[in-house]
Symmetry: C2
Subunit: 342 residues, 2 copies
């Protein structure tokens, strides 16, 4: 026996058959206690490590799951990955991560890589324009759950924040402060989560008889900043701004600073996505928090149940967002001559 010991070496050492060793190691309890001890002892003395690849080839399970994510630097996704890694690890799974950088081409290629790796299942956050091709590239035999950016006609189990409602509540809050002209800065309505956020926002504004200004500002911080600087220089600018995700929030804060717009006196800001830094800015930014923990737990439930071929209840989870009020949102006060919108 040169190199690593194999299961066969263990069998010889323990003086049992190869099959018995396999049974013991897989936790099959139909093995006599005495043999089991001999096997375990042999494993220890040989410092045996199971060759997981050989097992996978035979039993068709890799105990690996793929995570397809647009961008790890986005704190929301980083938090999601952190939670998922813990859940997977606790369940004996390991995760392979792949990033798509919001590029549909790359997304397709990366999803294929993950499939070739023969993962047992995959958790996907689609990128812009990626939802359409998902069904065909995933196929129906691969356990899969879609997270966050769930398309309207999505065929897979999914979990996301109830974006419509969260945005609706956010807008209601802004209205309750007296704001009547509020803008929503959204990355792109081609993303379904954003689309829902815009819709919830608009619904609330209509109900509250406010003026809703929908601004599409692009996917990056820089694009958002430039776009919003233009908005802030308009004659009749809104008195409150609602950002559609953390990247846009970043751009908005930059724009506010560059244009010298006082927050919250001249402009209230409500952010979608909460995270540590928002508390530290001055004024601290009010935000709608997405329940990352819950989203991760549900995604894992949905995926592991599919892998285990268990019954899935509630295959489309929508988690409630929570409004966190800090200092960036204030009662609307008419300033000088500028009038409130209509």
């Amino acid at each position: 026996m040169r190199g690593k010991p194999t299961m066969n070496d263990v069998a010889i050492e323990a003086v049992v058959s190869l099959g018995t060793v396999s049974k013991v190691l897989r936790g099959d309890m139909t093995v006599a206690a005495e043999l089991r001890e001999r096997v375990l002892g042999a494993c220890r003395s040989l410092n045996y490590q199971r060759n997981w690849i050989a097992a996978s080839l035979r039993n068709r399970q890799t105990h690996t799951i793929g995570i397809v994510i647009p961008d790890i630097l986005n704190t929301f996704y980083a938090a999601l990955v952190e939670k998922l890694e813990n859940l997977a690890s606790a369940g004996g799974y390991t995760i392979v991560i792949v990033t798509t950088g919001e590029e549909p081409q790359r997304a397709l290629q990366r999803i294929n890589v993950v499939k070739e790796r023969q993962v047992d299942g995959v958790i996907i956050i689609p990128s812009v324009g990626g939802s359409e091709t998902l069904a065909s590239s995933i196929g129906s035999d691969m356990p899969c759950v879609i997270v966050d950016r769930v398309a309207a006609e999505n065929p897979f189990p999914s979990v996301a924040t109830d974006n419509f409602d969260a945005a609706y509540q956010g807008a209601k809050y802004l209205l309750s402060l007296g704001h009547r002209h509020v803008a929503i800065a959204a990355n792109t309505p081609r993303l379904w989560n954003t689309y829902q956020r815009i819709a919830g926002f608009e619904r609330a504004m209509i109900e509250g008889k406010g003026r809703a200004d929908v601004r599409i500002v692009g996917m990056t911080v820089e694009e958002a900043r430039i776009s919003l600087e233009a908005l802030f220089r308009e004659r009749e600018r809104p008195t409150a701004l609602f950002t559609s995700n953390n990247l846009v929030t970043l751009g908005a804060i930059g724009a506010l600073r560059n244009c010298g717009v006082n927050m919250p006196r001249e402009m209230s800001l409500l952010a979608f996505d909460d995270f540590e830094w928002l508390r530290l800015l001055r004024p601290a930014i009010s935000a709608i928090n997405q329940p990352v923990d819950q989203i991760a737990v549900e995604a894992w439930r949905l995926l592991s149940h599919q892998i285990g071929r268990r019954q899935i209840s509630n295959p489309d989870v929508r988690a409630a967002g929570q409004l966190i009020i800090r200092e960036s949102t204030a009662q609307y006060v008419q300033i000088g001559k500028r009038a409130v919108a209509r």
Copy 2:
């Protein structure tokens, strides 16, 4: 042929032997062009996907690398992962990620998981107290590179910022602004990178005849905040603060706010680790940036050369940090009665 097509199915379809198919698919050019075409055609028409697990079992390569990281929410590590994923992907590798949460026990367990997964190599950022046991748990046959938290007696190829020099330069800068009493808030000197940062800081302060105040503030944002609030309430507090990493910076900013200490008038702040938010705070925070791109590229070079059994030149890379001056650091001006240190 039920289920997925195998290489054998392709061989039958193309009317060649199994071995020939294998050769073509592995890019072995010693196959006649005509056969190659037939094989490729058969693959397409059957929609053949190579079973990578079977290949791995035979050739002992998984084309997978493990990344062991303390915490994905730390932006520095998130950025590192993002870069590494791109490099790995471009090289035909996929990454499995494992987080240790700064817990030595968990680190050990996770490193073992990665090894059992039979990765071709591993990139490790040790956690506190984890460096000591690394050598024995990794073994000498596994390609490995240590990043960022490189121990003094580290036996593996490594890449990190030149922490001593970066901190030295930072302290020199603070001295040049006239500060003579400056504190460094460090998470723990048990981390070698932090240890180096403290040492570089102290060296500069000695040379500049300043008073160096070393404060160990703990690993979390909360601990750092509480610890620094105490510092800010001391009678003879420093006029400038140097934080040892991004988590401590977070705590420092919170403490500054809570204690109502004006920055930079009453206290200059220089952060180790730069990232987007630092620009957006007011005042914008001066920082020492670690060259994440370079670090990732070098780590990948070191790892892939080991995997390919190529010669490794320069196995211990130390990259230069860069000082970015913004608004949080200002010339020291004596305020009222409070005297400069000693």
